[in-house]
Amino acid sequence: MNSITIAKLTFREASRRKILLAALLLGALFLTIYGLGYHFIIRDTTESFGEDRKFMINQVSNFLLMAGMYVVNMLTAMMTVLTSVDTLSGEIQSGAIQTVVAKPVRRWEIVAGKWLGFAAMLTLYLLLMGGGVMAIVYLRSGYTAPHPLQALSLMWLNAVILLSISLLGGASLSTLANGVLVFGLFGVAFIGGWIEQIGAFMPDPATNQTAMNIGVITSLIMPSEALWKRAAFELQSPLLTMMGDTPFTARYYPSDAMMIYSIIYLLVVFALSIQRFNQRDL
């Protein structure tokens, strides 16, 4: 009950401070540009190919859908971190949290309430943006990706993991240190994923193995890149998978075990954020 009060407060703060508005306006701008670009590319593709036009349009659509979803994944992650990074540390710093904690409220209800509020926001954002990209592609050319729901779920999991890390950091660190922590982890996962991909092209099997290990270890530290790789795999067409790596696609995809690990990772980080806030002097 108290968590719902805090969740509503969190949501209201985002809309009052025009964070939601800015995110939605820029999201709309992104979808507009994306839609225009997609429209012209499909028009040219339709004109330049004859008999096997349908096959080409599908391949081009799939590639462009992946590119769009890659950006949506990044934007959702950014929005999640930027909106939540200050929420605990900022209120602790200013003292605004004091009158809230001095109420008949349990501390975990405050953390859970903030989590719910931000999770609701990022879910809405992801559905609008990811759903928007998919809808544009479908409406223009009738193309649908293989497993859109699985992909969106994995992107969502990525975002709520980032949210939970941001709350954990906010319960323990200053806002700035928390920002450095979350983006740092995100960067580590990103570069680890790339080393793994590039390493796979190296002729020496030992190098292959080392690169793979780096990829696995960084995914264990921070699974965000692994989640995107798996989401991309769920979206991409079989042909694209065979073609190999591009910035938005993956030849190797993370296992189911990695996905289960990510869920456990989420639960542990969330529990730690509650534990940290429970012990914090305010």
């Binding site: 009158t99 001095a102 109420k103």
Partner: protein
């Protein structure tokens, strides 16, 4: 509901931050319906003590109870109202929304909340500003809305951390009236303040704290009604006459026409006057002065300010 006679009871509460002892040994009890002043120099551990009472800061040792319930029991805080020292709130909320939020946190039923919010806005004089954002409030207005927030649940204990520091004289009088009204309705009020004149007017009892320890608890009445200093202005005083005053008073000092001494109470004043006149002095003034809380504060806490 607990039957404990005390609104606040602490035994040897202690808080250490790293290697700094903020509160070394806090033992005190505040009765129901009592207005209790908590005095001490800056850095004496007053705010840390208040925060421990509200479970904002966790004690390193000792124990504490509100209405007989342990400090970490969230349920007991439904009977407590709190105005923090710096009254920083969610400043993007409007005044009425801010009170509604806190009514929700107290889980007041919506109808009762609406009625209470109206009453309290009226009480603190903010009805015309209810739909302004807190960001646009002055310091005094923030303090008023903070006070309203602390009274939403009709608490049995109100904890005020420096409640009048941002207020003009009108606001101060308002706070004093509210405190008096609360105390008449049996609400215990715990005031952490360094504004001694405020405490002097409002409190029943005071505790002096220094270096995180309670060094004296006193009934304010007995403090200020006790010893008094008498200032006399008279001509034709002579040393023998001054000597004779030692029958009644102490610390006798004579300087020309001025004479001062301390008495345990005012009962002997007429007798002293008769004595001076009968000995041939021309008395122009004989003025008893109670010791001020400020003097007492300095006497007890020392002039080093606890540094």
């Amino acid at each position: 509901m607990s039957q404990s006679a005390f609104a606040i009871e602490t035994r040897n509460l202690r808080k250490v931050f790293g290697d700094k002892v903020a509160v070394s040994n806090l033992t005190l009890s505040v009765e129901r319906g009592e207005v209790f002043g908590f005095l001490g120099p800056n850095g004496a551990g007053k705010t840390t003590s208040v925060k421990m009472l509200l479970n904002l800061v966790f004690p390193s040792g000792g124990e504490g109870y509100l209405f007989g319930q342990p400090l970490n029991d969230p349920a007991v805080r439904s009977r407590v109202g709190f105005l923090p020292e710096h009254f920083r709130f969610h400043d993007w909320l409007r005044g009425d929304e801010f009170l509604q939020l806190h009514a929700d946190l107290y889980r007041l039923p919506s109808q009762q909340a609406r009625r209470r919010i109206g009453e309290l806005l009226e009480l603190v004089g903010l009805t015309p500003h209810a739909s302004k954002k807190l960001r646009e409030y002055s310091k005094g207005m923030l303090q008023r809305i903070g006070l309203a927030q602390a009274l939403l649940n009709q608490p049995d204990l109100v904890i005020l951390d420096e409640p009048t520091s941002g207020l003009d004289p009108v606001g101060r009088r308002l706070v004093r009236d509210i405190i008096r009204d609360l105390s008449q309705r049996g609400v215990a009020v715990f005031i952490n303040s360094h504004l001694l004149s405020e405490v002097e007017i409002t409190c029943d009892r005071v505790a002096f704290i220094k270096h995180g320890e309670v060094i004296r608890v006193s009934r304010l009445q007995s403090l200020v009604e006790g010893e008094l200093t008498v200032q006399v202005r008279a001509r034709n005083l002579n040393p023998a006459m001054v000597e004779g005053l030692s029958r009644w008073g102490k610390n006798i000092r004579a300087d020309g026409e001025h004479l001062s001494f301390t008495l345990p109470g005012e009962a002997d004043l007429p007798e002293i006057n008769r004595y001076l006149v009968s000995q041939g002095a021309d008395v122009y003034a004989l003025r008893p002065e109670h010791i001020s809380l400020e003097d007492l504060f300095i006497q007890i806490v020392g002039t080093d300010g606890g540094l």
